[in-house]
């Protein structure tokens, strides 16, 4: 259940690939090299508020120029994976025509209901994923290879992006069946699965409780006693309705965030 429409994803992919295709990078995309033609950018320790919040990256149109600011207090250091993603995200706001015009017309999320800004941020995130991991190279690395966490790490190192960013890209264009579920407080918040993923009939819905026998569902039900950090072998019926005669076993790997959410990956053998 993607929050962005397919036609919009295609438009954003086309745009990001078109920009990157003008360059010939060995492996990781040099974001600064592309950015410096268009905008000014700054890395600084912009601080973190007492409640742990502050911007991670932002783009400003001051009436004359565009400026991108990256907060090192959030992203660590200049070329960190997180810094690169934040930078690419902000560049997305510059390159996506609709965002560009909104910024020039005094778009300011603090003036709006936060929910209205979500689509803008989601689009910039999607753009950043495509921009940092162009389709051709991504497929060269992933096609014909069985999905594994080692593969994710390899792609992550190649493009110098986080493993989560790789997973979200993989679920879009990867050739091996994969599903990602984003879960919080025992609820399925959203999920993505590629077309190759064979099981469609969920035992739950977005916004509803997780299936109790899934690894992630058990974690939210039982707590740290069921906090599995390695790959778990689960029965297909732990997550999906299944009418087949043969037993089907899936793999489930959970990643636990310090902010209370859990990302669960599910893939067949």
């Amino acid at each position: 259940m993607s929050l962005l429409k397919n036609y919009r994803k295609k438009e954003l992919s086309f745009l990001a690939n078109e920009i990157v295709d003008e360059y010939d990078f060995e492996n990781e995309i040099d974001v600064e090299l592309i950015a410096k033609k268009f905008i000014s950018f700054y890395y600084d320790n912009y601080g973190v508020e007492e409640d742990g919040t502050e911007f991670e990256g932002l783009i400003i149109y001051d009436g004359y120029y565009f400026h991108v600011h990256i907060n090192l207090d959030f992203v660590g250091f200049k070329d960190s994976k997180r810094a690169r993603f934040s930078f690419a995200h902000e560049l997305g706001h510059y390159f996506i025509v609709e965002h560009h015009h909104l910024l020039k017309n005094n778009y300011n999320p603090s003036n709006f209901n936060p929910k209205e800004t979500n689509i803008i941020e989601l689009e910039a995130n999607y753009f950043a994923g495509v921009f940092l991991m162009p389709e051709k190279k991504f497929k060269t690395l992933s096609n014909g290879v069985k999905f594994s966490l080692d593969l994710v790490t390899k792609i992550s190192d190649y493009f110098n992006v986080s493993r989560l960013a790789v997973l979200l890209r993989y679920v879009e264009i990867g050739a091996y069946p994969l599903m990602i579920a984003y879960c919080k407080n025992g609820i399925l918040e959203w999920f993505e699965r590629n077309e190759e993923f064979p099981h469609k009939a969920f035992r739950t819905k977005v916004g509803k409780e997780l299936p109790i026998n899934s690894t992630v569902g058990e974690y939210f039900r039982v707590g740290d006693y069921a906090k599995h950090t390695d790959i778990q072998r689960i029965d297909v019926e732990d997550w999906f309705y299944y009418n087949g005669k043969d037993e089907v076993i899936l793999n489930e790997q959970c990643f636990y965030s310090e902010y209370g959410y859990v990302i669960s990956l599910i893939w067949p053998d």
């Binding site: 912009y46 911007f55 001051d62 907060n71 017309n105 999320p109 603090s110 800004t117």
Partner: protein, 110 residues
């Protein structure tokens, strides 16, 4: 019919009013406060700048002291309301972060 209240009744009141509204230099705290209030300049900015000035040093100096820095006091402007902004993370920027943003951007302009 009620009589209209008059605040300026004589020359002394007129002078006080002129000192409080920026037409003459203020001569005491209340005149200065009123003058600053009307000109929308933050009093704390004045206090901050005043701390950097040493009147004894000026008085004792043999030659006039040259000041190489011009301090311009401007009323605080919320730039974020004038800019187009898209932020990853928190949408509302703190004052301290905004100051650094402005400093960085201005440095680039110079």
């Amino acid at each position: 019919m009620a009589n209209k209240k008059r605040y300026i009744k004589n020359e002394s009141d007129l002078l006080k009013a002129m000192r409080s509204t920026g037409f003459c230099f203020p001569t005491n705290d209340s005149e200065q406060k009123m003058s600053l209030k009307l000109s929308s300049i933050d009093d704390s900015l004045i206090q901050e700048s005043a701390l950097e000035i040493n009147p004894i040093e000026i008085w004792d100096a043999d030659n006039p002291i040259e000041y190489d820095e011009v301090i311009t006091l401007k009323p605080e402007v919320d730039y974020t309301q004038e800019w187009g902004i898209a932020a990853k993370g928190k949408a509302k920027i703190s004052k301290s972060a905004l100051d650094k943003i402005l400093k960085n951007q201005n440095k680039k302009k110079d």
